[in-house]
Every structure is written in C-alpha cells, then in structure tokens.
Symmetry: C2
Subunit: 230 residues, 2 copies
C-alpha cells in the first residue's frame, strides 16, 4: 500500500516492549499509524516519555495522549500508591492488574478510530506471559470486537472493526526477535512498573523479570537501563 | 434490604433527567448507590454541578467525577467547539453522538464496580427517543454485559455482572411520571446540550425538545429553567 491507498490504524502505545513491537508490526503491514497513549495516574508515568520518543522514531501520523484519573478508583498497585508493586512473580491475578483497563483503552481507541474513519485497532496484549490478566485473553478480545460492531456508527453501517493482537500467543523472546527484525530499538522502551523518575527500571517487578527473561531467551543483550547497574 | 445486606451499585449520573431517574430507581430497589459522573470536555460541563446536587440530595454513599479529555479526539458537537449543536431534531445518527462514549462510561463504571466488589451497574440509556445513538440500543448493552463477564476478575471468578437499563424502552413521559413517584425534583436536573454558564437550558437542542415534549405528554408543568424565559 502507498499514499492514499494506505489504511489507517490506531495503535495503543504504552511505551513498553510489547506495544512498541506492535507499532512496528502495524507499520510493516502498511498501515498509516495513529498512536494513542493513556496517562491514567499510573506510577510509571515516565513510560509516556518513552511512548513519545517511539512515536517520533516511527514517524506516526499523530500521537495523542489521553488523560484519565483512574487513580480515583484505585484498586491496583499501578494506580494506588498504598499498594506496593510486588518484587516477585505472583500467582493468579496480580495486584498490578488495573480493573477494566483494557476495556477502557480499547474504548478510547475505538472512539478515535471512528473519528478517523479507521476500522483497525492494534493492542499488544499477550496471553502467554501475562495470563493472569483477564482482559489480555483471546476470548476478551473477540468479545470486544463483537461489541465494537454494535457500539459505533461505522459498525451500524456495516463495517467490520478488527482488533489486531499480533502478540497474543507469542513468547517474550519471539516478540523481541520479531521487533529486532523490524528495527525496534528496545533501549528506548520502558516496561517497568516501578521505574525511578529518570526512567531507570527496577529490575524486580513482574514486567522487568519477564522482559529480562525474554532477552536472555532471545540470546540478545538486554539494553534496559536498570537502577542498580546503570 | 437494610444495612450490611444492601448490595452496592454503580450508577452513571450525568445530572440529566434520565440518569437522575435511574438513580431514584436504583435506590428504590434497595441498592447502596455509588454515583459516577464523567467530565469529558463536553460543552455542557455545567451538568456536572447538577450531578453533584443530585448525588447529595439522594444521599449516595460516594460520588466520583472522572476526568477524560475526549475533546482530544473530537468528532462530536458535544466535544468539538467547531461543530454546532443542531437546533432541530435530526434524522439518523445525530452530530451530538460522541464516538464510543457509552462503551467508555460503562468501562469506567465496570472498573469502579470491580474495586467496590459490586456486580450491578445502572445506566440511563433509552432506545425510544434516542434511537439514533448506536450505543443506546439493547443489543449493545447485552453485548457489553457479556464483555464485562470476560473483562474482570470477578467475572473470571464466576460472578455475573448486570448492566441495568431500567429506562431502555420507556417513553420520556413515563420516565418523568416514574421519577416523580420516586420523589425526583426535575428542576435540579439539566438535560440541555448547550446551556449557558448559569445552567439555563437553550430550549432548542434535541435534548431540550425531547425533555419539553416529555413534560407536556406527562401533563406535568415543565420545571426547566430556559434561557429565554427564566
């Protein structure tokens, strides 16, 4: 696809490893990319700086940052300062789960897609490493896609809205290998749930552990800047 | 139900006629009511003052106001100052439709419900007068309910989440009659899409016309304060 033939897509971009890879994949598929980030009172707001850098590097058509005060409702280690981020991998649904977050993010992406006249939304959910989060599962995504068809003007008019989840069944090391083939510079991404204000990763939260293991398994040097060994 | 037996419910409260009636109905059903309003860059932000008054009058357990800058994506007369609010009833999907708004509002309500341990959400959608909005239709609500079961921790654990839409097939005059039986003071509510800064209604937008007709058909004096005849 070139120029005016290119279809538009909205990509949910947190600034982490997964969503950055998704952006690279969407671009590689020939979409005109519109990146959407959300500032929701997360303790790792510094990830939004990573999102901005990445959006610029990838030359997205537009990068919007939506602000929502989700800390208002709390209920997660990511939005309630009184709930600590665990430093060990946890069983079951972790306390870093943010209630209804992906439903909300996809709703925002859906609203923007509708305004842009786009019927393609990309999200970097992954059901392998993060299987504890209910809203990262394929059945959730399929259901959201059905909802999108009913929720929107373009759906009512007969368009199909596609929620693309290219990473859903990939291991972290496969994600990293694919991203590197597509030219992703992972040193620019931030996955940590508990970074310091300079954007250095803690190295011990779930997100850091899974990311580090991914680089090990991909047999690629880990470019992450950690607090201990920066 | 009394005291600790009372179930909790989250009620989406805009401060308009419909959502206020829904709050009265939820209270009458014996729920402990948690009201959620959303400031989303709507031109009729003054409706939030109405929502606060009403939440107080009804003695809700808690009233939260969530802020989202939906004007960022625009696409609606309610969030884009360059799109005028029509002064005549329109055919098809009106320009006051806000892309994905109810999906977003229900997601927020779902998040809060999950934190509260509630499985009941109330929303004042109505498919009679506002049939132009895709996300006010019963099929949309049914689909969201299915999504809610997959999106949340409590859904995964087997709880059923109910999206209550008591007004969905009621005419405006039936809504008004029921609200008055339940003690709603409609002079405190604001439905207008284009009020002045004092909260006086324009009298000519879709919302004003439907509301005015409702009072006429209910044979009840219209307590709305209009800009022309305040």
């Amino acid at each position: 696809m070139t120029g005016s033939e290119q279809k538009k897509a909205v990509i949910l971009l947190s600034g982490g490893l997964d969503s950055t890879t998704v952006l690279a994949i969407a671009r590689d598929m020939g979409f005109q990319c519109y990146a959407l980030s959300v500032q929701y009172g997360q303790r790792h707001e510094v990830e939004l700086e990573a999102a901005s850098r990445i959006a610029r590097q990838f030359g997205v058509v537009e990068h919007k940052v939506c602000h929502i005060n989700l800390d208002l409702i709390g209920g997660s280690a990511l939005t309630d300062p009184e709930i600590a981020v665990p430093t060990e991998l946890s069983e079951g649904i972790p306390v870093t789960y943010v209630p209804a977050r992906n439903t909300l993010f996809l709703s925002l992406a859906l609203g923007w897609a509708e305004v842009l006249g786009s019927t393609d939304i990309f999200i970097g959910v992954n059901a392998v490493d993060y299987s504890g989060y209910p809203d990262c599962r394929p059945e959730f995504i399929r259901e959201f896609q059905r909802l999108a068809a009913l929720a929107t003007k373009c759906g009512v008019e007969g368009s199909t809205i596609t929620i693309h989840t290219p990473l859903i069944d990939w291991s972290k090391d496969s994600i990293i290998r694919r991203g590197m083939e597509l030219g992703v510079d992972y040193s620019q991404t931030l996955s940590c749930y508990n970074p310091d204000k300079n954007g250095l990763a803690c190295g011990v939260c779930d997100a850091c552990r899974l990311r580090r293991k991914g680089f090990e398994q991909a047999a690629v040097p880990d470019p992450t800047r950690y607090q201990d060994c920066s």
